[in-house]
């Protein structure tokens, strides 16, 4: 690897979030929670019905992933990021409840970016399709909620040095906008 990495540990404090800038290469250690389309839908139903969420979102990081099944002897199957944009409409209510970090890939809506600025949160991209490599950073996986959703269930993952890039920081700077501009001809 030719890159320099910042190391951070979850849960994320406001101080750590503010120190992260779009373009930073980061290694995340600690707990992250998996949730994608179906789990987000249930989170929002919980909120609407005034029920408690299965996880206290304060300072937490959600990883948008639906892992492949683990082969015997493996903690987790291949586990790369899914496209984050599908979670956009269900994201601001989670940020309002303390969610500090999201790991995925791909574009976010202006509403999500505004909510990230308001709530001081950060959006990381993991490399799409580098799922077997990423799984090496996952040390423990534990079911938290919605087992019936299979791969889409909410799981707690303990990760060590999960390689990501800060794409959108808490000030709204966006590497998906600034990065390509530099190389556009």
């Amino acid at each position: 690897m030719t890159k320099q990495y910042k190391k951070i540990t979850t849960p994320l404090t406001d101080e750590v979030v503010k120190s992260l800038k779009a373009g930073d290469n980061v290694l995340i250690s600690g707990e992250v929670y998996t949730a994608r389309d179906a789990a987000h839908k249930r989170f929002i139903s919980c909120i609407k019905e005034g029920k408690e969420l299965p996880i206290d979102l304060n300072g937490k990081v959600i990883y948008y992933v639906g892992p492949a099944p683990a082969k015997p002897g493996y903690v987790c199957g291949s586990a790369g990021p899914t496209t984050s944009g599908r979670m956009d409409s269900n994201t601001p209510p989670l940020l309002d409840r303390g969610l500090k970090g999201m790991i995925g890939k791909g574009l976010r809506s202006p509403e999500v970016v505004e909510s990230m600025k308001k709530n001081k949160a950060v959006y990381f991209a993991a490399t799409g399709g580098a799922a077997a490599l990423i799984a090496k950073s996952i040390k423990k996986v534990e079911l938290v909620a919605y087992e019936d959703l299979g791969t889409e269930a909410v799981r707690k993952m303990v990760v060590e040095d999960l390689p990501v890039t800060v794409v959108i920081d808490s000030e709204g700077n966006n590497l998906y906008e600034t990065g390509p501009v530099k190389y556009k001809r």
């Binding site: 890159k3 290469n25 892992p67 492949a68 199957g77 291949s78 490399t127 556009k184």
Partner: protein, 281 residues
């Protein structure tokens, strides 16, 4: 008349789906390595290095290269002198998929109903099966496992004949540009031109299966492929969409005669984990 049993068909399908999910094609590997040499962005190079390392881990450890092990699509060229024995042909293919996804530790990514229930079928079936009758006494089976992220960024448009080549160019470039980082660049761009709406989509899908480095046999389309690849790699999207030169590894065009009133175009985007394989029984 040659007899081929459904058991052999099932085993062939099963082996192919496991293999393509573990082993990236040599052509894709070569294109990724070439991309690494060309890439000017440091971040872009790091992403390409990660992808190459990932593909090595998957092949060595016999695990899925991407967690999205795709929708299972099967193209069958069925020799007209073949007699299939031992049961239902379509069921044999579905059983092959079922066993591959179970025994190969591949993710089950299919829901039973697209709109209302969306309940996972838990075995990655039904597969999408296309059968074409051809002369001969063999069965040619080509399979692909298509990821959702890149499929979602694909698009179709019914252009008018007067929009012509420029219309096609604008639509292809516009679709890739809109997709940005979402389909896991570097991507392979499959383009279908002509036919009717469903034929055109099928052409685009087949275009994604073509070996990288090979071009459309018609020199005009081959030139268009080269031009579009160059234009796409000027967009700056780069590996992972974080900025760089290598946005696409190839543009493959398949074409077919069209109605006098129509110029259909479909852009089917495939991620760098381009999983396809074939076998002849």
């Amino acid at each position: 008349m040659r007899e081929i049993s459904t058991e052999v068909i099932k085993e062939t399908v099963k082996d192919l789906f496991i293999k393509i999910n573990y082993d990236i094609g040599e052509d894709v590997l070569a294109a990724l390595k070439e991309g690494l040499e060309k890439e000017e962005s440091e971040t872009g190079r790091a992403i390409l290095e990660q992808i190459l390392e990932n593909d090595k881990i998957a092949a060595t450890e016999r695990i899925a290269m991407c967690q999205d092990t795709g929708f299972s699509i099967i193209f069958v060229k069925l020799g007209q002198d073949v007699r299939i024995t031992g049961g239902d042909f379509n069921e044999a293919i579905n059983q092959g998929v079922r066993e591959a996804y179970q025994e190969g530790y591949l993710r089950k990514s299919v829901v039973d109903d697209p709109l209302f229930d969306r309940k996972n079928t838990k075995d990655n079936t039904p597969a999408i099966i296309y059968v074409e009758m051809v002369p001969g006494d063999k069965i040619h089976i080509e399979v692909t496992a298509k990821g959702g992220g890149s499929e979602n960024m694909s698009a179709m448009k019914m252009l008018t004949p007067s929009q012509g080549e420029q219309g096609v160019r604008d639509f292809v470039i516009g679709t890739v540009s809109n997709a940005g980082p979402n389909p896991c660049p570097p991507i392979i761009v499959g383009v279908g031109i002509g036919g009717t709406i469903e034929k055109c989509a099928l052409l685009a899908k087949k275009a994604t299966l073509r070996k990288l480095g090979e071009h459309n046999p018609d020199p005009r389309y081959a030139q268009l492929e080269k031009d579009l690849l160059e234009e796409i790699n000027k967009l700056g999207i780069g590996p992972g969409g974080l900025g760089g030169r290598v946005t696409a590894l190839a543009v493959n065009i398949e074409h077919f005669p069209a109605h006098i009133a129509s110029l259909p175009v479909v852009v089917n985007i495939c991620c760098h984990a381009a999983r396809h394989g074939e076998a002849v029984i």
